[in-house]
């Protein structure tokens, strides 16, 4: 399985996304990815709906302000991981009740779901590292975000 840091790129990292509440977060994140050419418009529409369906199944907050929304679509040909830091935390259901400000969005084709499950589990494990979360919240650039993730993956190989 590829490292999380290898699957992210600057185009897939969004800073200081404005969001008044969580219901607008994911559509805004997907729209930004469409604007950046990471997704096309059709993929963006489908993904927005699929993410909403998944959230209706159960909240994807894992605690410590981290949310991992995910949905898998035939129209997305390769595994996709994107990261967004919200300008301000927003209320979102999670095991510890902490508001959310760090979002790891996962998507890809349905036939790769076993790999996606492994990546989801990896992110759940890595976000227990408080130093990484602090670095992500203090990062001033996409490069610093990537550096924080490279660092945590080295420390928790």
């Amino acid at each position: 399985m590829d490292h999380l840091s290898e699957m992210l790129s600057e185009a897939k990292i969004l800073f200081d996304l404005e969001a008044s509440d969580f219901s607008t977060c994911l559509p805004d994140m997907v729209s930004a990815l469409v604007e950046r050419g990471v997704l096309n418009a059709e993929q963006g529409n489908e993904l927005t709906q699929a993410l909403a369906s998944r959230e209706a199944l159960g909240a994807t907050g894992v605690g410590r302000g981290v949310v991992i929304p995910h949905a898998y679509l035939a129209s997305i040909p390769e595994a996709l991981i994107c990261f967004a830091r919200l300008r301000s935390p927003v209320a979102h259901e999670s095991p510890d009740g902490e508001p959310a400000d760090l979002i790891f969005l996962l998507s890809g084709p349905p036939e790769s779901q076993t790999t996606h499950l492994m990546m989801l589990a990896r992110i759940v494990r890595l976000v227990h590292d408080q130093a990484m979360l602090t670095s992500l919240r203090q990062a001033g650039s996409a490069a610093e975000v990537l550096a924080a993730i490279v660092d945590v993956e080295k420390r928790h190989a």
């Binding site: 199944l57 159960g58 909240a59 994807t60 894992v62 991992i68 995910h70 949905a71 499950l117 759940v124």
Partner: protein, 120 residues
């Protein structure tokens, strides 16, 4: 005194089709398994997809797992007994229609001791 006897093995069987527990234990007896311990257990997939919300979307990947299963432990004296036990267990479950009936495997036993008082 703990015994070190080459060839002793621990058979572990995780049985999802718990309705067939008696048939599996009967197969063990036929294979020459002297005794075994049965515990009620739960599969990882069931626990994660039902109890941990982040994994809820992956329930279908764990579709074969039942709410509960049985784990059977048996110490046997030889790999022949293990092989025979596996053959017979697979035979009793052969006609069971199921995506995931369970698994059976063995590991070597390095030391073994009865906890019963030794007779003089």
């Amino acid at each position: 005194m703990p015994e070190t006897r080459a060839g002793r093995e621990l058979i572990i069987c995780v049985l999802n089709e718990t309705d067939y527990l008696h048939d599996v234990l009967t197969a063990f007896v036929e294979a020459g398994v002297p005794t075994s311990t049965v515990i009620e257990s739960q599969g990882m997939g069931r626990i994660l997809s039902e109890d941990v919300p982040i994994f809820a979307g992956f329930r279908h990947l764990f579709a074969g797992s039942k709410p509960f299963n049985n784990t059977i432990f048996a110490v046997v004296d030889s790999s022949q007994t293990t092989k025979r036990a596996i053959e017979l267990v697979r035979d009793v479950l052969a006609d069971v229609e199921s995506q995931a009936k369970g698994v059976i495997f063995s590991v070597p036993v390095l030391e073994f001791a009865s906890l019963s008082r030794e007779r003089k």
